[in-house]
């Protein structure tokens, strides 16, 4: 899959490969240290942030956390829903 910045796609692929291996072989097996991918993640992040700046993307709106907070949408009472 492409990155939002064409110049970041190669870095993204490298990072994704690192992450996917870590996720399946370490994280799902109870090992939480994710430092193995942090070097490539930093380089990739820098690239993406520059690309996003050029596209005037609102960083503040992205930084807002909603999942796991009280701001999550709630399902309406379930008795009359399919």
């Amino acid at each position: 899959m492409n990155s939002i910045g064409e110049e970041c796609t190669e870095l993204k692929k490298k990072y994704d490969d690192c992450f996917n291996t870590w996720f399946s072989e370490k994280f799902l097996k109870g090992y939480n240290d994710d430092s193995v991918c942090s070097g490539i993640f930093r380089v990739y992040q820098e690239c993406v942030k520059n690309a996003m700046k050029q596209q005037n993307i609102d960083f503040k709106e992205i930084d807002k956390d909603i999942l796991g907070t009280d701001n999550e949408n709630k399902a309406p009472p379930s008795d009359n829903n399919s």
Binding site: M1, N20, S24, L28, D34, L67, N73, N81
Partner: protein, 208 residues
């Protein structure tokens, strides 16, 4: 009042497989509307993996909707939490920008229901605040969302099947349309369509 919609689908794969496949969902032959995908932040907190990603997708609206919503692409923020102990993956997505015109919020919970089955429970809230048109826009949004659900499930199954081919059983999804093309054909078609969509977006961005 936002329109609420929910459904669920079963994947014939273990929760671990679904969780691994989740990060590789795109591209797939049914996701040609997805243009890009980036990880914005990621950290392990209390044994759970918290991720925030930014996706861009093409924006398909009917002719009458172009008046309100003529952007060629939309940006989507996807938050997720993976709890490996309890085997729960929750994702929460919302569109970035244009939320007054139409806001689509989707929450999906993937839970293990056996050694080789995972259920995805999906909830969606679709809202619009365009005076005089909000009902029509909400109805359109729900309809588009419902159709996209089938595509999402079939596309995800396609990815899972190519990652874990021995099972190959597919899923009880809402749609039973069989996938008739060979995977190679579909992958090529998907790549070509994504490139075309991307070229369209770029040319429209450059024009303005």
């Amino acid at each position: 009042m936002a329109r609420y919609y929910e459904n669920s689908s079963t994947f014939n794969y273990s929760w671990d497989q679904v969780a691994c496949g989740y990060w590789k969902r795109y591209p797939n032959p049914l996701s040609t509307h997805v243009l890009s995908e980036d990880t914005w932040s990621r950290q392990v907190k209390d044994g759970c993996l918290h991720t925030k990603r930014l996706l861009t997708k093409t924006n398909r609206v009917p002719k009458w909707g172009e008046k309100f919503f003529n952007a060629k692409s939309v940006k989507i923020i996807e938050e997720s939490i993976v709890d490996p102990k309890n085997k729960i993956l929750v994702t929460y997505t919302r569109n970035l920008g244009y939320t007054k015109v139409m806001s689509v919020v989707e929450r999906v919970e993937y839970r293990s229901v056996g050694p080789a089955q995972t259920v995805a429970r999906r909830s969606a809230w679709i809202d619009s605040q365009v005076f005089g048109f909000s009902r029509a826009i909400r109805a359109f949004g729900v309809d588009r969302f419902r159709k996209n659900c089938n595509q999402m499930v079939n596309g995800f199954n396609h990815v899972l099947n190519s990652m874990f081919p021995r099972q190959g059983a597919g899923a009880h999804s809402m749609s039973s349309a069989p996938v008739v093309h060979t995977f190679k054909e579909m992958r090529e078609a998907a790549a070509a369509a994504t490139d075309r969509a991307k070229a369209n977006v770029l040319s429209s961005v450059n024009r303005t």
